[in-house]
């Protein structure tokens, strides 16, 4: 007797997605819990953590932002291998503004997010006319080359970098700016991708020619998506510059490109929640594995391969399915 697995939406999911959500506490809770509990955890976590783990939490938030930025691009059909470009560009913009012109961090961070994002967008403009692997190749090359350029031409402090930059007034402020940015990006971009605007972006990924047929200028939409993603990355870089009070060549390092991709792959692509979940798993894990030294990057590489081949949907989609559906074995019709 042949059997197949059948997945059915739970009744409570069907009801709570509709107006019935108002009918009982249980259904409202079912609907609200996956949104409210993570936000509460994000906000309360810094209060219970020690100094060391607060630092780790900061980098979790930064990598979550980079992973979200990666996910925006990948949902618009652009596979970036160089998040370090966005991160580094933001970091250098705010570092240079602060070091040479003495502008306060409250201004340099937003300026760096916009200007850094714009510079990255302009650099990547030529690649947007091609589909396929070109975007990945060029984004992989540019940060590694910029690293060499800075090393060779000795601009902006060369190999030494710029240190002694201004810091934000309190560590709670920098913590909560990052956490707020992470929450805003997570829920804001989730909403954006379900709107008509997001529909166009997803359409470009699935079939760019048919989107063109609909009379939509796909280059303009790709440019916008690229600018949004690189501005998010540049913001993360700018924040990190003022937290560490330093900007130098390491901001273009491969780590900032790999870890976000690994986070999205582990957490699950296509929903920004997966990106954040992945960052929450991988960054503390890599702190715990600090004793292993260089072997950590080997693990990221293996993670990438295992998840791409073995579990392409990622952890988040797995959990989401368990939460909203139940499974049973049904007989196959004769």
């Amino acid at each position: 007797m042949k059997k197949r697995k059948e997945r059915i939406d739970r009744g409570i999911k069907v009801r709570s997605e509709d107006i019935f959500a108002l009918s009982s506490w249980r259904e409202m809770l079912y609907f609200a819990a996956p949104r409210v509990i993570p936000v509460a955890v994000f906000i309360l976590l810094p209060l219970v953590l020690g100094d060391y783990w607060q630092r780790v939490y900061l980098s979790v938030a930064v990598f979550a932002l980079l992973a979200i930025s990666w996910d925006i691009l990948s949902q618009s059909g652009m596979i970036s291998l160089g998040q370090a470009l966005f991160f580094g560009m933001g970091a250098y913009c705010s570092g240079v503004l602060n070091h040479y012109f003495g502008i306060s961090p409250f201004l340099t961070i937003p300026i760096a997010a916009v200007v850094g994002g714009a510079i990255c967008t302009v650099m990547l403009l030529p690649v947007l006319r091609l589909r396929g692997v070109y975007f990945s190749m060029v984004t992989l090359i540019i940060p590694l080359m910029l690293e060499r350029v800075i090393e060779a031409t000795k601009i902006f402090g060369g190999t030494e970098g710029l240190s002694g930059l201004d810091v934000l007034p309190s560590k709670w402020l920098e913590m909560y700016i990052l956490v707020a940015a992470m929450i805003a990006a997570l829920f804001g971009f989730r909403r954006m991708m379900t709107s008509d605007y997001g529909l166009v972006l997803t359409g470009i990924k699935d079939n760019d020619r048919s989107v063109m047929n609909a009379g939509i200028n796909i280059y303009w939409f790709k440019i916008q998506a690229l600018f949004i993603a690189s501005a998010v990355g540049a913001f993360a870089g700018a924040m990190m510059t003022h937290v560490y009070r330093f900007v130098g060549m390491p901001v273009f390092a491969l780590d900032y490109s790999i870890l976000p991709i690994a986070a999205v792959m582990v957490g699950g692509p296509g929903s920004f929640a997966g990106a954040v979940l992945g960052a929450f798993i991988l960054v503390p894990l890599s702190e715990a594995l600090r004793a292993l030294g260089g072997l950590r990057i080997v693990f990221y590489g293996v993670f990438l391969v295992v998840f791409v081949v073995g579990m392409p949907e990622g952890i988040f989609h797995f959990i989401a399915r368990k939460y909203s559906q139940f499974e049973r074995w049904a007989e196959v019709d004769k």
Binding site: R131, V133, S136, I141, E151, Y300, V302
Partner: protein, 290 residues
């Protein structure tokens, strides 16, 4: 001065051809962009080193064994990992990149860092070309690259496997109707690309030392040259290597060595602006341009 610059520019270009031809070949045939290419290059260098120093094989045997070994790894990589995600560009890119990263960083973790990791030159001698000293190894690189490109040309034009390569490259579905197994051809293409990386490593590495960061450099150079020449076009690789090689060497001599990287970066962006599919990227232009 000028003659010396030209001679070394030619050698530089030939090194670039050797470094990128395997990557480009794999992409041209099966459409797989092998981001583990630089890692395979370094893998073959280290395995030659280990066979030479720890097992004690004679140099030619060690080099040959490691070329075969690298080709086998390429084939296994396709069979066990890439075949499952074939056709999904995102997954292919991430999987090969993950493999390359794991290999390279594993070597770094094992402590293969330092000047003692080097391969001996084939013949320790040097020659005069006009007034320019050129050592024998560089001449061997030029000679072996000419032989290699010639052999590849004969292989893809006059053997049945080579013709199948071209068939799959031109139109995979039509090739399937003629009974060419696209999975086997893709396996062979990844494996051949890996073998070419290993051959390049065998002749180029004796010029310096083996270092993990070179793996990334080789990948960057291969990508840069392939983008400029047009992905999948062997003629494009040769022309792009000459352009980049000469540009790098001349800026190095007349402007300053730290501008060489900027020259390659500018060349990539310029070519993408003017001719998005690369100088010779006619074959896939229709699929890639939007």
């Amino acid at each position: 001065m000028l003659l010396g610059t030209i001679v070394y520019a030619i050698i530089n270009s030939v090194i670039l051809i050797m470094m990128s031809i395997g990557f480009n070949l794999t992409f041209g045939i099966s459409g797989i962009s092998n981001f583990a290419y630089g890692a395979l290059y370094i893998f073959s260098a280290f395995s030659t080193y280990m066979l030479l120093q720890m097992v004690g094989l004679p140099y030619p045997v060690a080099a040959l064994v490691s070329i075969v070994l690298t080709a086998a790894i390429g084939a296994l990589m396709y069979r066990f990992i890439l075949m499952r995600v074939r056709g999904q560009v995102l997954s292919e890119v991430i999987a090969t990149f993950g493999i390359g990263l794991a290999i390279l960083e594993f070597f770094r973790y094992l402590g293969f860092v330092g000047v003692e990791y080097a391969l001996p030159v084939f013949i320790d001698d040097s020659f005069m070309i006009g007034e320019v000293y050129v050592d024998a190894q560089r001449l061997i690189i030029v000679a072996s690259s000419v032989v290699l490109v010639g052999l590849l040309w004969l292989f893809v034009h006059y053997t049945s496997v080579g013709l199948a390569f071209r068939g799959i490259a031109q139109d995979e579905r039509t090739a399937l109707t003629f009974g060419m197994d696209s999975d086997w051809i893709a396996t062979l293409s990844v494996s051949l690309g890996a073998a070419l990386a290993a051959i390049a490593a065998t002749v180029i590495i004796p010029l310096g030392t083996i270092s993990v960061s070179q793996g990334y450099d080789v990948l960057i150079n291969a990508l840069a040259v392939s983008i400029i020449g047009g992905l999948g076009s062997t003629g494009g690789v040769i022309v792009a290597s000459l352009v980049v090689g000469f540009a790098q060497r001349f800026t190095d001599t007349y402007i300053g060595s730290h501008w060489t990287m900027i020259v390659s970066l500018a060349a990539i962006l310029l070519v993408l602006v003017i001719k998005p599919s690369g100088l010779y990227g006619k074959q896939k232009e229709l699929e890639e341009r939007i």
